[in-house]
């Protein structure tokens, strides 16, 4: 007592912070690891650590609203007879029916269609509503193969062969019992109410040589019409992209560790995979080394939030991006207007991530009919379209300011970095210097 007189301020540990302590208590009480939705929540080097330089003496800008700055992108030009043409390079990422309600899937299709872009199915198959409301629908080919069939394969506009996801490179899907409704169970051919852990590896191929044959089979079944994407989590982007090209991909999707998920172990989300920012240059480098940059298109995802993020991803060499979490927020996820209900669930708007529990007050990550019908797919679709259009305008604003008449003309030379980490990862100079850490001898 005498040692603390006068008293010192109670001090909490930076190592054992409140969250860490609560997690130890939670684990001790329940005996199960924490499962949650959304992506990595820790602070990571990200697009915010980059800035555009803008036009100046050596480059002239384009007039906003008057001089054209195209955002059109074509995906799947390598082998597919019918490549996908999009009005904007911002696509909707694959999110499963099962993880999301039927209304949410419909809203994603409506929003994407209004904005002239594509949306994607997910682990659990294609629903007629989703196909019906999506002008351009990418059909995922996943390890679980839930609902997989040749008719949907042929109904799709492109096929995305999922090898991994940024939130959990090396992990399979999870859908807990609460969300396995009759319809979800039937689509997945599983008993109702079980905790469903889908496989992490494909059942009928193992390495890139087998994958090449698998892709041949999918092309044969669809008569070489559909673009075939390969999606990988941000693990070893240089080699993963090179091997995807070798296996015959038309498009490669690289999803960094901030990428969202419907349900994954917290330890996986926060500790496996590389940040999105760190994945892009190695991925682009692989394409360039193979002479395939712009021939095999690169889609980047994981933490894309606004037009500036899109512009930065494109400047680093991506052809397009995909959004998951942000699209759900546009539909109404984590809306402060629902604060009372989030409180009842022991959380707060902006932090709600128990998407696996199926109790989403916004009616998005649920299979409960009463909650699901809260989401009006027409209105929510409109909101998503607005959001996608705003991002596209922001992207154009930046591209014009940098003097480009097509968003694909954005380049690393348009950028500088605010931190050493971001400079090294994005391979652009630290602001105010010509120093790119890791390039050359230092």
């Amino acid at each position: 007592m005498t040692y603390h007189n006068p008293p010192t301020t109670p001090r909490k540990s930076a190592t054992f912070d409140d969250y860490t302590l609560s997690e130890i208590r939670r684990a001790a009480q329940t005996g199960i690891y924490d499962i949650r939705g959304a992506g990595a929540k820790r602070k990571l080097p990200h697009f915010d650590d980059l800035l555009f330089l803008g036009a100046s003496m050596s480059r002239y800008p384009l007039e906003g609203y008057r001089e054209r700055c195209s955002t059109a992108v074509t995906l799947g030009t390598r082998y597919a007879k019918k490549p996908i043409e999009l009005k904007t390079p911002i696509t909707i990422a694959g999110m499963s029916f099962g993880a999301l309600s039927g209304n949410a899937k419909e809203a994603l299709g409506r929003g994407a269609t209004l904005a002239g872009t594509s949306t994607t199915t997910g682990d659990g198959g294609m629903t007629p509503e989703e196909r019906g409301h999506s002008e351009k629908l990418v059909y995922q080919y996943l390890p679980s193969r839930y609902g997989m069939n040749p008719d949907d394969l042929r109904r799709a506009d492109a096929i995305e062969l999922v090898v991994g996801q940024g939130a959990k490179p090396g992990g399979g899907g999870m859908l807990l019992g609460q969300k396995i409704s009759d319809r979800v169970a039937e689509m997945r051919t599983l008993p109702k109410g079980i905790d469903q852990r889908s496989s992490c590896r494909h059942p009928d191929w193992t390495g890139p040589d087998d994958l090449e044959i698998k892709i041949l089979e999918l092309r044969e079944i669809t008569d070489w019409e559909k673009p075939i994407y390969i999606k990988v989590g941000g693990a070893r982007p240089y080699y993963d992209v090179a091997l995807a090209v070798k296996a015959g991909a038309d498009v490669v999707v690289v999803d960094g560790m901030q990428g969202g998920t419907a349900a994954t172990q917290e330890v996986f989300i926060e500790h496996v995979g590389q940040p999105t920012l760190a994945c892009i240059r190695p991925a682009v480098q692989a394409l360039q080394d193979l002479g395939m940059h712009r021939k095999v298109q690169l889609i980047v995802s994981g933490g894309i939030r606004n037009g500036a993020d899109v512009a930065k991803a494109l400047a680093l060499g991506a052809d397009a991006v995909a959004v998951g979490t942000a699209a759900l927020v546009a539909l109404g996820d984590n809306d402060p207007a629902l604060e009372d209900e989030y409180r009842k669930l022991g959380t707060t708007a902006g932090a709600y991530d128990d998407w696996h529990e199926g109790r989403d007050p916004a009616g998005i990550t649920t299979q409960n009919p009463e909650l699901a019908q809260r989401l009006d797919p027409v209105r929510a679709g409109r909101r998503l379209a607005n959001y996608l259009k705003v991002m596209t305008l922001e992207l154009q604003t930046i591209a014009r300011a940098a003097g480009h008449n097509h968003v694909h003309n954005l380049e690393p030379e348009d950028l500088c970095a605010l931190t050493l980490e971001a400079a090294a990862m994005a391979r652009v100079p630290l602001a105010g210097t010509s120093w790119i850490p890791g390039q050359g001898n230092f």
């Binding site: 059942p203 044959i213 698998k214 089979e217 079944i221 070489w224």
Partner: protein, 228 residues
Amino acid sequence: MRSIDLAKTPLRELNQGLHALKDGTNETEWEVLNPRGQHAIAAGVDAPVNVNIRGAVGYYCAGMNKQATVVVHGSSGPGTAENMMSGQVIVKGDASQYAGATGRGGMLVIEGNASSRCGISMKGIDIIVRGNIGHMSAFMAQTGNLVVLGDAGDALGDSIYEAKLYVRGSVKSLGADCIEKEMRPEHHEALSALLKKAGVDGVKTSEFKRYGSSRKLYNFNIDNADAY
């Protein structure tokens, strides 16, 4: 009868021709010569036709088959009839890994042996193997029937859901959550129908044992963590 010689005709032409067939076509008899281990032969057919393949095939023969009867007069590579929807696929020789993987319907008959992971993730297909099957067969099998007249390798039915496994010979070991189950009258009946459909006679259903899920791992419980 249409006869396609893959030594002279590209695979693409064969498959495109098969895909162009509509219900009610009279071009119902097809023969494929010199397959020479090519992959994805007769993949994605959706018409009630007979395809006889004279020789050995590579990966994914008759993949996603619907309605057709495809007979391989030889052995087949990995992923034979993967994700089959309906119809029948018959392999006169042996089949490599993942035969009938994720199959959703129809019947796959393997007259020789099947390698590892036969019936992996099966979702409704019926698979009949006259010989033996390799390790990890029926891994995560969801529904459908796997009938084996010979022996099964290690870890049969690991993490199985509701598929039914009937094995006449020995089982080297069972995988997590897979147990032997009683053969009740309805199982004798179902098995008898499967054997008949596959053209197998001279074996009694009483010679088989049935295996399936003990359903202990359906919902997560920390005390089961050692089982994985």
